[in-house]
């Protein structure tokens, strides 16, 4: 017998989803999620989500890349192969600025890009929600809430009643 992953409730519009998320949040669930075709404005607050930690990673790697490039240029130009070209001094901060700046931008942007996928656990081959037929419209015009079975206070009957009460057009069980 297959085990349940949790419950999947479908909503018709962002307003219903928003109101339902506030209810699920207030009911005290922690292992749950909302899925929508676009980022619904303010949904993070309705769900009680913490802000992303991504900016801190970007700051750390951006500053790191910046410092590395600055000292790398000094090392390469002044120590590794000192060579006067175009009459510029070997150690010349103004002449180092463009590469220094570009390396900062590049390291910050690479962190933002890869950090986004790593923090979100993507790429991911499969997710139980994809077994639902109706979930295919999550990238089109339908809105969903999932409450997972591993939530400490998960009780299938109570969760189903809550989701139905929030105006879900359908509630289905997801197989793991």
């Amino acid at each position: 017998m297959s085990t349940t992953f949790g419950l999947l409730a479908e909503y018709e519009n962002p307003a219903q989803l928003y109101a339902a998320c506030e209810r699920v949040r207030d009911a005290g669930y922690t292992k749950w999620d909302a899925c929508s075709p676009f980022a619904v404005h303010g949904l993070d607050k309705a769900m009680g989500l913490k802000p992303s930690t991504l900016p801190w990673w970007v700051l750390a790697f951006g500053v790191g890349g910046s410092i590395f490039m600055f000292f790398f240029q000094i090392w390469a130009m002044v120590y590794a192969y000192p060579f006067i070209l175009a009459g510029k001094p070997l150690f010349s901060i103004p002449a180092y600025v463009p590469c220094w700046y570009e390396a900062t931008v590049l390291s910050a942007c690479l962190t933002a890009f890869f950090g986004n996928w790593v923090l979100n656990g993507l790429p991911r081959y499969h997710h139980p929600a994809f077994s639902s037929k109706s979930f295919a419209r999550v990238t089109d015009d339908k809105f969903f809430i999932m409450i997972e079975r591993r939530d400490p206070q998960f009780d299938q009957a109570a969760a189903e009643a809550l989701l139905k009460d929030t105006g879900a057009s359908s509630v289905e069980e997801l197989e793991d």
Binding site: P37, L54, N116, L122
Partner: protein, 486 residues
Amino acid sequence: MANTAPSTSIALPDDPNVRGDIVLEDPIEGREALVRGDRDFHYITEAVCKGNEAPLLKTPSSFVFGLLLAFAGFLLFGGYVGWLFWEGPGIWGNNNPVSWAWDIVNFVFWVGIGHAGTLISAILYLFRQKWRMGVNRYAEAMTIFAVICAASCVVLHTGRIWLDYFLFPIPNQMQLWPNFRSPLEWDVFAVNTYFTVSLLFWFTGLVPDFATLRDRATVKWRQLFYGALALGWRGSARHWVTYEKAYQILAAFSAPLVLSVHSVVSFDFAVSQLPGWHTTIFPPYFVAGAIFGGFAMVQNLIIPARAWLGLKDIITIRHIENMNKIILLTGSLVGYAYGMEFFVAAYSGNEYEGFTFINRSFGPYWWAYWIMISCNVLSPQVFWFKKLRTNVYVAWVVAALVNTGMWFERFVICVTSLHRDALPSSWEYFVPRTEVLFLAGTFGLFLFLFLLFIRFFPVIAISEVKTILPQANPHWEGYGHAKGGH
């Protein structure tokens, strides 16, 4: 966020091909809806995906013809590159004083084109210009393909192409490093960073739309192709939080890139000691010109594409008008820069500088100079009139003129400054030999990539356009909620 209710008082015709071209008066209260025709979320999905989802064998023959034509251009490019490898830059007309000609002209031309895409995707995003959502995907795609063309030109101009790896700081057996104090090395860093960041930004925006195509895919190859590209995206709100943050950060870092990349390109010229190049006005002048030429290329691509793909409800005449206003602004800035160059040459009292500019406009290359002035400064002035800037035919023709003018601007800067050396004995008139095939080849490469993009990738940012529909706001009054924030 304020509610942007559609102005229902204005009756628009039902035909989406007509509706998108109607110019609406600026409303006094409320704003015109960005997407016309009272559309729902599903319409956006359908409208954008239908072009990608048509079976391969049922691709319209007009499109196949265009693709084959572009492919022929692409083959021309490949053949030309092969010839260049075999013979070397001797197949160009470059001569002793004019050592930079079409190779660098093409490079600056193409890299400038890209800037409009980044301006739309990053700066307009940070300024919350919602109309950008309809056009950003095209413009970003254009950026990437234009930078690919630019990179090919600059990589191929070095002569000994197999030694191009010298440009990168790769540890090597000679224990040499590139000269980080040289503007040419700054350019390597600027263009590579620009390309990488643009690509990451573009791909990040595409992932939710790839997921849409994946979920709608009915045949195996599309399920696999879009499934792989979508990275398992499921629209989770927990993901959107980090995703939007990543998008904002990429936008925030791309915004200064719009200004810095072409500034660095201008340093290639401005840091040298050559009269006509050695001016402090170059960075802002190049950036304005890049945005100017880039928007013209967006217009050239988007005006036919929106009609052909039936997307006039999403890319309305208002988008075209807004971009024409930017073309007018940046065209006038460029005109100011042309005037200021002359003023500085006169005011400096430097006779070499003065000679260069008089020679530029009345010397052997007077024709290039006046093509540049009439295309870049005079032609966009028609956009002062609302009737003309909201006419798609006028917009397309002016955009084509601007693109021509911007190519000639780079020709004027490169060739006229070089062909009169300090020693009159080395004066030489530059005549191109086979370079026109090079330029045509890069256009082939560009259009080939662009047509493939239109066929296989969502041309509108589906998930972003949905957010600008009024009903995307969870507090929209149409849902019967009391107005109020959170």
